[in-house]
Amino acid sequence: MSIIEVNHLTKYYGKSRGIGDVSFNVEEGEIFGFIGPNGAGKSTTIRLFLSLIYPTKGEAKIFGKDCVKFGPELRQEIGYLPSEVFYYEGMKVLDLLKYSASFYKKDCTKRLHELSDLMELDLKRRISDLSYGNKKKVGIVQGLLHQPKLIVLDEPTAGLDPLMQHKFFNLIREENKRGATVFFSSHILGEVQRLCNRVAIIKEGSVIDLQDIKTLQKDNYKKIRVTATGLDEKSFQVDGVTALQKSNSTVSFFYKGDINVIAKLISSGKISDLTVEDLTLEEIFMHYYE
C-alpha cells in the first residue's frame, strides 16, 4: 500500500511558485529521501501533507485519504519534525511534551520519557532557556512520542551535534523497523545516502528524478582516474564519457556504459595508477543541478 500518494500537486503563493505538478508515491515501510537545495519546494510539499497550507491544484493522499478533507484524523498517525523548531517560550519542556501528548488518543507517557532519556533532554528547563540543538531534541521527542505510522522529517539534523545525529538516525531506523514509514527531506546528501531506500530529487518546484538509491549510485556513473604514459585523452571521447580532464599524464572522467569498452581504451597506454570509483551522491547531485 502506498502511504503517501502525490498527484499533480501544485502550490502557488500568489504568483510565485511553491511547487508545480509534483507526483510520486511513498510505499509502506520505506525511508524515502526528498532532496533538493533551499527553495526547491521541500518544505512546501511537507506543509501540504500536514494541511498547514492548501494546494492550488492536485492532491496529496496519506494512508489513502485526502490530506485536506481528513487532516485531523490522518495527523493522529503522523509525526512531524519541522526544519525550524519553535515552541511556547514560557513553557517547561515537560509541560510542552505533555501538551503535545494530549492531542493523541493513545497514552504517550512511557514513550515520552523513553525518548527524553535517549535524547538526554532535561525536562525541567524552560523552552526559552534551551539552545537551538536542545529545542531540536524537544522537536524530535514531540514528533515521535505517539509512535506514528508516518514520520515526516524536514531537514531534521540541523543543530544536532554528530553524536546526537548518530543517535537520531538509529532512532529513525528503529522506528522504521517497528513499521513506520519515513519521509526524509534534506539537502545534505550524505545523510540521505546513509538512511534512505529511495530518493526523489526536487529542483525549482518539480521532481526531476526518482530512483532507488543503489541504482542511482551503482548503475550509473563511475569516476575513473588513469595515470599512464603515452595516453591521448582524445581517444576517450566516446559515448558515455563526461567531464573529461587531463593534467600532466593523468586523465580523469565520469563514465556510464559498458565497462569493457572503457577498459580496452585504458589498457592502450602503460598504466602507472588507476582508480575506479562509484560517484558519491554529492557528485550525482551536482550533475543534476549543473
Binding site: 519541522p82 511556547y88 503535545s100
Partner: protein, 267 residues
C-alpha cells in the same frame, strides 16, 4: 479540545489579571473623588461650561449630570470602556496572529485537530478571560457605588443594564480584531492594531458630535453602548444591533477565513 482551551487560557491569564486590576483601580480612584463633584455640582458645571464644547464632547462630558451618582459613574464608565475595548481587541488581534508570528502555529496545526476546533477553543479561552474581567468590573462597580455614594441613591436597574453592555461591547472588539487579523497578511505586533481600532472607533464616535453632523458615528460601538444614553433611558440604543451584526459577521467570517488560511512558514 479542553487541552487547547486550558493552554490558551493560561497564556492570557496574566493579562486578564492585570487588566482587571487596572480597571478596578480606575473605578476606585474615580469614585473616591465623586463626592467632591457631587457636593459642588453647580460649581463644576459652571467651570465646565467655560471649557470649549469640543473638549467636553471629546471626553463625553457634554451632557453629564454631575449631581446624580450614576451620572458621574457614567462619565467614568467611558474610561473603563476604553480599557475594556483595548483588552478585548488585544485578545482578538492576537488570537491566531501571535502563534503565527512566533511560529508555534506549525506545532499546533500539525497536531490531530481541525482548524474549527482550534478557533473555538481559542475563542472560548478569550471569552473566559473577558468574563473574569467583567465580573471584577461588576463587583467593583457595586462596591464603589456603595462606599462612595455620599448618601445619594441610585436605581440598581439602570446600573445593571449598563454593566450588561460590557459583554457585547467587548465581543465587538474581540471578534472584529480576529477578523481583521485574518484579513491582513500578517499582524507583526498586536498593540498598534488594537490601539488603532479602539481609538479609531472612539474618535469616529465623537467626531460627529464635534462637527455637529451625524454620519459615520453610527458605526462605533462607543456610540451603540454610550453610557449616558443607557443610564438616562434605562435601555440600549437600537443602534446596538449594528454591534450585534458586526459580532455575528466577524465570527462567521473568522471561521471561514481561518479554515482556508495558509499558515506562513518560518523560513
Amino acid at each position: 479540545m479542553m487541552n487547547i482551551y486550558k493552554h490558551e487560557f493560561k497564556a492570557i491569564l496574566r493579562t486578564v489579571l492585570i487588566w482587571s486590576a487596572s480597571i478596578a483601580a480606575l473605578l476606585f480612584v474615580f469614585m473616591s473623588i465623586s463626592s467632591t463633584f457631587s457636593k459642588n455640582a453647580v460649581v463644576v458645571s459652571d467651570m465646565l461650561s467655560n471649557f470649549p464644547k469640543q473638549l467636553l464632547i471629546a471626553f463625553g462630558m457634554n451632557q453629564m449630570d454631575f449631581g446624580s451618582v450614576l451620572g458621574y459613574f457614567g462619565l467614568m464608565f467611558l474610561f473603563c470602556q476604553i480599557c475594556l475595548a483595548i483588552q478585548a481587541a488585544n485578545y482578538g488581534f492576537g488570537l491566531v496572529s501571535i502563534e503565527e508570528n512566533e511560529f508555534t502555529a506549525d506545532f499546533l496545526l500539525a497536531k490531530p485537530v481541525g482548524r474549527g476546533r482550534i478557533m473555538t477553543s481559542k475563542l472560548l479561552a478569550a471569552l473566559t478571560g473577558l468574563t473574569i474581567t467583567n465580573l471584577v468590573v461588576w463587583i467593583c462597580s457595586f462596591v464603589t457605588l456603595a462606599v462612595f455614594n455620599s448618601g445619594a441613591t441610585y436605581e440598581t436597574k439602570r446600573l445593571v443594564i449598563l454593566l450588561l453592555s460590557i459583554l457585547p461591547f467587548q465581543l465587538v472588539f474581540l471578534t472584529v480584531g480576529i477578523l481583521i487579523s485574518l484579513l491582513v497578511k500578517r499582524v507583526r505586533n498586536v498593540t498598534p492594531f488594537s490601539m488603532g481600532l479602539v481609538f479609531g472607533l472612539y474618535i469616529l464616535n465623537i467626531f460627529g458630535d464635534m462637527i455637529g453632523k451625524k454620519s459615520l458615528e453610527v458605526l462605533s460601538p462607543f456610540r451603540h453602548f454610550n453610557p449616558n444614553y443607557i443610564i438616562q433611558n434605562a435601555a440600549y440604543d437600537p443602534l446596538a444591533w449594528i454591534s450585534v451584526a458586526a459580532i455575528v459577521i466577524s465570527v462567521a467570517g473568522s471561521y471561514f477565513l481561518y479554515n482556508r488560511r495558509n499558515i506562513p512558514s518560518a523560513v
